[in-house]
């Protein structure tokens, strides 16, 4: 709540200097402090539209902190201070044009542990559309619920029990429910903070497939500890180490031909 921002009312480019796809989000010199402790030491990162960007790195390197800056979830943490520029479609997300609530409707989030609300499956999905007034009629809401569940690959499993509590689903189903819940407000970007770390391998495979499909319509940033997962689902990978972004490149490039020694050390399992 006590986030202080010291941003110039700046805007960021919509394309990188070398051309290429549209830049959905841009971070310039992002620094984050928890009280006196600096967690991020000036991160520069460009997130391309309709791509999956994976953030990898050892525990405590600041990748989750960075992810939570992108939709201002750090605002809810006491003593957290963010400096630098983060832009969505060229617009400063900490600026006056957008507030945190609007931003989070455009940049959705899926958490490490599945966190369905203690409500019915239907109400879980309908929660976002209802508070944002997206659907005006019952039919529209029904349709949003159905398409969201379909996109999350959960519709066939739950269509007969939409009125049952979401907490009664299995872990993998709960996480897909949370993804469906995020999709239901039609965000532009979906942030995923280790979405599979609490799931078994089969549920993980399900979610990975889903991420690949979602790329068509959404820009996705995923934090993961699982390097195979990063290699499987992402097009771009950024390696974080001790609060710095060491290297960011095409995923293939990072895993086959890393430029930095630290990246190589981490992906070959020498430390982490």
């Amino acid at each position: 709540m006590s986030v202080q921002t010291q941003f110039p009312t700046a805007s960021a480019p919509l394309r990188s200097a070398t051309g290429g796809p549209l830049l959905k989000m841009v971070a310039r010199d992002v620094k984050v402090f928890y009280g006196a402790k600096q967690a991020l030491k000036g991160i520069d990162l460009e997130i391309q539209e309709n791509r999956v960007m994976a953030l990898i790195g050892p525990s405590g390197c600041g990748k989750s902190t960075f992810l939570r800056c992108l939709n201002r979830m750090n605002d809810t943490i006491e003593n957290c201070r963010v400096e630098g520029l983060i832009a969505l479609d060229g617009e400063d997300v900490y600026g006056h044009a957008i507030d945190a609530v609007q931003l989070r409707a455009r940049v959705g989030m899926v958490f490490q542990k599945p966190n369905p609300f203690p409500k019915s499956i239907y109400d879980n999905i309908a929660y976002g559309p209802r508070i944002h007034g997206i659907a005006t009629h019952r039919d529209e809401l029904d349709e949003i619920v159905q398409t969201s569940l379909e996109r999350a690959g959960l519709w066939n499993e739950v269509k007969d029990r939409l009125r049952e509590p979401g907490t009664g689903l299995s872990g993998g189903q709960q996480q897909r429910l949370c993804i469906a819940r995020a999709i239901a407000v039609s965000p532009e970007v979906i942030l995923m903070d280790e979405p599979c770390s609490a799931l078994d391998p089969i549920a993980t495979a399900h979610i990975e497939e889903l991420i690949d499909e979602l790329r068509e319509n959404y820009t996705i940033v995923i934090v993961t500890h699982n390097m195979q997962q990063a290699a499987r689902v992402s097009q771009k990978t950024a390696f974080f180490h001790l609060g710095e972004m060491v290297e960011c490149d095409d995923t293939e490039e990072i895993f086959t031909n890393p430029r930095d020694e630290r990246t190589q050390g981490y992906i070959t399992g020498r430390y982490g």
Binding site: M1, V101, Q102, R104, M109, Y127, I131, H132
Partner: protein
Amino acid sequence: MQITVLLLVLVLLTVIGFQLGRSRAAASVGGRTVELHSVPSYHGFYVALWAGLPALLLFALWSASEGWMVMQMVLAGLPDRLTQVDAQALSLLRADILNLAHGVNTGREPDPAVAAAAEQYVRLRSLGDWSLLVIGSCLAMGGLLYARGRITPDLRARNRVERTVNVALVICSLVAILTTIGIVLSLLFEAMRFFAVVSPIDFLFGTHWSPQMAMRADQVGSSGSFGAIPLFAGTLLITAIAMAVAVPVGLMSAIFMSEYANPHLRTWLKPILEVLAGIPTVVYGFFAALTMAPFVRGLGQGLGLDVSSESALAAGIVMGVMIIPFVSSLSDDVINAVPQSLRDGSYGLGATKSETIRLVVLPAALPGIVAAVMLAVSRAIGETMIVTMAAGLTANLTANPLEAVTTVTTQIATLLVGDQEFDSPKTLSAFGLGLVLFLVTLTLNMVALRVVQKYREKYD
């Protein structure tokens, strides 16, 4: 005197026993304590228990039976003309002997035989105390030596000590349970006596409460009427007013404390609010009777209403204030127990803080909040002092909060204050009321506990 000495001796022997047991155990394996079955201090406790427990048991039995036994011996030595009488005279004789023995001046010259008996009583008691001291000390010493002799490296001292402690724990919980059962049974039996005189139907469904009865046959007085409906209606009215104050205020302050107040403010605010729970109810009673009631009456008169100077409204409002900390403190705990991940999930969807609280946090905390409110209701129903002081004693059957009403607890208090005779329905009706009240609050508490249990299953 002898008893104090005995207790001191026991404490001393237990401490010595502990030390001896521990060192003996260590010595038995030449200091390599890992070879012992149990850690040396368990051997110490083992010896200490043997030294202390048997002597303590003897002491308890002795104290319970000594007075009676000595009295029997004294009575056996008295001439028949004194002892061959009816039970009442015999109990008078016993009281005389005891009074003389304790040097209480009864105001009349005692019978020489009785005086002699009293002297014998004193002698025997003193002899008994001395023998208790000697036997008890010997028993403790014997226990100590016996247990010390049994110490070997293989002795399962830990298991034995733990079993003894186990038994002690069971006994302690039994004491609590038996006391409760005893209270309920005494309530039940007195209530039965009441219901033998007044039919339960009249009691539960009668609408007129006027417990005054003639105490002597020649006395002029009403015959008494025990319809408890006005009391229960009054209780209900005041409880409803109290909850109407306590639930909104308590819940809102809980939401403020857990969701909006910064931690620094919260560490100040919560204890201050909890101080409200520490104020004696009789102080709330002053406040209700001297401040709130005149204020309510003044306000009512200003609005052109006829307000009695002792009104249900004043008592109910003050009782509500008293209950606020119950609701707020319990609800605050429940709201804090809602996982942060649920709030994050809601914020992550672009919900505002108030939407998150209204649509996610409160529904998730609802079972716990309901339980908190239930407990607060039981508290309000059982509250006596505020109502006695501020709402009056008139058993009006009314739904108008501006009139004086009375509650079950207030009536119980007034029925049992002052000189009583325990064969009059007037006095006994207090037990009838108490029984019904007990059943009501028991039901409420059970419902509240069930709700809490259900809630716990959900998040662990």
